[in-house]
Symmetry: C2
Subunit: 338 residues, 2 copies
DNA sequence: TCCCGGACTGGGACCGGTCACAGCCTCCGG
DNA sequence: CCGGAGGCTGTGACCGGTCCCAGTCCGGGA
């Protein structure tokens, strides 16, 4: 008789039970906290787990408990932003770490194309994930709407515009942050302050502009506002338009560090020195702000907190605990550019 | 009698079967390709799926088939690289898209701390994923070793150093690329060419230097080599050391765009103009190369192909098809800096 | 007319866990 | 000596699919 090669199967909970001389139930109890288990049994099971090299089967557990043990990190921005904008990476990393602490995992979903967007809700319902971390939604995003209709626990990054108010979100105080930065610029004697705002259909685009306008008060001049899409190129282009229209501006507040970098690029080409001739301020305190030439004065978003709070909020919502949107403060970081 | 709120359960395959008037087996067959199913039955099932809003339960399928339907994107670099280096984002996005085409998902794993690294192999065995895309391994990485020991299909990005040769990988022709760039610099009349190499325990660090040295031939001067860790700061620091040691260099070849950017920063501070006084070349053609001031001459890595090939290679390995490591070509992108 | 094979279908067993319940033992109070 | 309460344990049912085998139906060749 020939010896079968014995393709050693992965040990299951039954193997562990047999090895420990107890039942499946007891093993399960030990694995999940271990209440109502005698010290002897617990020791035997732990020993058996060690000996057999047992690892719980995730799919089986998922099936039995009805929970996936993972969350989706859903990005809906057009592609170029993902690999240009360092803030996404910050959020992603933070979320992954927050989850790994909890023995859960992050599933990355990119819904850039309309086709991809269309089946995200469907896909998410398939039980892949317990909830969704929605990154950067534009106004009245149908995707968010369909997630909510499907009853999928969702937490947005930034207050989603144009939705029923119950949408959960973690955001920063956009308007207040913009007021702080504007006040900083005014305190340094700048009067002709321009703003390169973000898209009006994003919270950062809309409310940072609101804060800027409020703080400027009577000095606010709509001529000095241009809009970009947060990218460096759009900042450079906006700066060109501003310079053409109002060559006398003495400060620029951009709604993202990338746009600020673009503005500096344009200004340099135009022969203006930063900050001597014109001050430039950004927003985000993304990685590039500190290494930029000159280093950017900016509003620091609390990235670690943002992702951590998004995760806790979402998990609370999933577990049915009482939850409400979170607003975090930002801090002014003064560097050389303004 | 009170009306129970009817918490409508998600429809299962049995509900569909009942609605279509067929058996579970037939429904399952329709879902999976639909061979050996009569046109009538197929139509009835498809209609029933539509009506009931059925979505396959991923965990159940996973349990029955023994496949997770997802791959891990495992990053082992120290944290700061993730959010500084845009190349990671490129790979990540490419991999996510390649998988979404195949109805699979990407699970993001970050094993930065030793503790995290320690249980990755254990974790991966839990059945979360079918295989691992390993990003950026340093020499003789014990993590890779334990993944291989555990029999987990793994594909590395870049040829892992210090391992048995059977490790699957997708990489670019590092040495050849470096020769191409070096030849380009020499063709433009540069003779005192310095190199800012990557860490010697990474393939990009080691083999790009090899290519540089080979191409330089007798003109190679070990004095003109400095090592960075691919980050912008390290490039700036390396450039400082080079300038101090050999003020007469007329070109610098950095093993990453970020380090090239750092070098330009240092050169600018030192009052040297790029490219007039000194040429600077990078590597990667990451997003920043084109928008950099001046735009960077660099070697373009075929990012989309890299991630796509990593995924196909890994899936082939998982399915037990014959596979071997892949090496892709790079292309020289000439911009203003060199 | 019978038999056979191919197309199609139904249903039991199974994947590896969790959960709820029943049962056991032991100890204590009445 | 009995009843009962706790602490602990074992077991059957179940989660929602897939797989595979047995069976039905039907048409065509002998």
């Amino acid at each position: 008789m020939e010896q079968t090669p014995t393709v050693r199967r992965k040990p299951t909970i039954r193997d562990v039970a047999a090895a420990a001389g107890v039942s499946r139930g007891t093993v399960s109890r030990v694995i999940n906290g271990g209440h109502w288990v005698s010290p002897d049994a617990r020791a035997a099971v732990e020993d058996a787990i060690e000996r057999t090299g047992y690892t719980a089967n995730h799919a089986a557990r998922s099936l039995a408990t009805g929970r996936a043990g993972s969350l989706a990190f859903l990005m809906t921005e057009p592609q170029h932003l993902l690999f240009d904008d360092p803030t996404f990476a910050l959020l992603l990393r933070g979320a992954a770490e927050a989850l790994s602490k909890r023995q859960m995992t992050l599933v990355l979903l990119i819904a850039g194309t309309p086709a991809e967007r269309a089946n995200v809700a469907h896909y998410v319902s398939a039980g892949h994930v317990d909830g969704v971390l929605l990154i950067s939604s534009h106004e009245a995003d149908p995707l968010l709407e369909s997630l909510m209709d499907a009853g999928i626990p969702t937490v947005a990054c930034g207050v989603p515009l144009g939705h029923r108010s119950e949408v959960l979100s973690v955001s920063v105080d956009e308007a207040g942050s913009a007021r702080t930065m504007t006040a900083h610029l005014r305190a340094h004697g700048h009067r002709r302050i321009a703003m390169i705002a973000g898209p009006d259909d994003t919270p950062g685009g809309r409310f940072r502009l609101v804060g800027f306008r409020d703080e400027m008060g009577d000095d606010f001049d709509p001529e000095l506002v241009e809009v970009g899409d947060y990218s460096q190129d759009s900042g450079a282009a906006a700066m060109e338009r501003l310079l053409e229209r109002a060559p006398d501006i003495d400060a620029v507040f951009a709604a993202s560090d990338l746009m600020a970098a673009g503005a500096v690029q344009t200004l340099r080409r135009a022969g203006r020195r930063v900050p001597d001739d014109i001050a430039v301020a950004g927003f985000d305190d993304s990685g590039l702000a500190a290494t930029h030439e000159p280093p950017l004065t900016t509003m620091r978003q609390p990235w670690e907190q943002l992702s951590e709070r998004m995760v806790t909020l979402l998990l609370d919502a999933i577990d049915g605990r009482a939850v409400e949107p979170v607003v975090l403060p930002t801090t002014l970081v003064v560097r050389a550019s303004a």
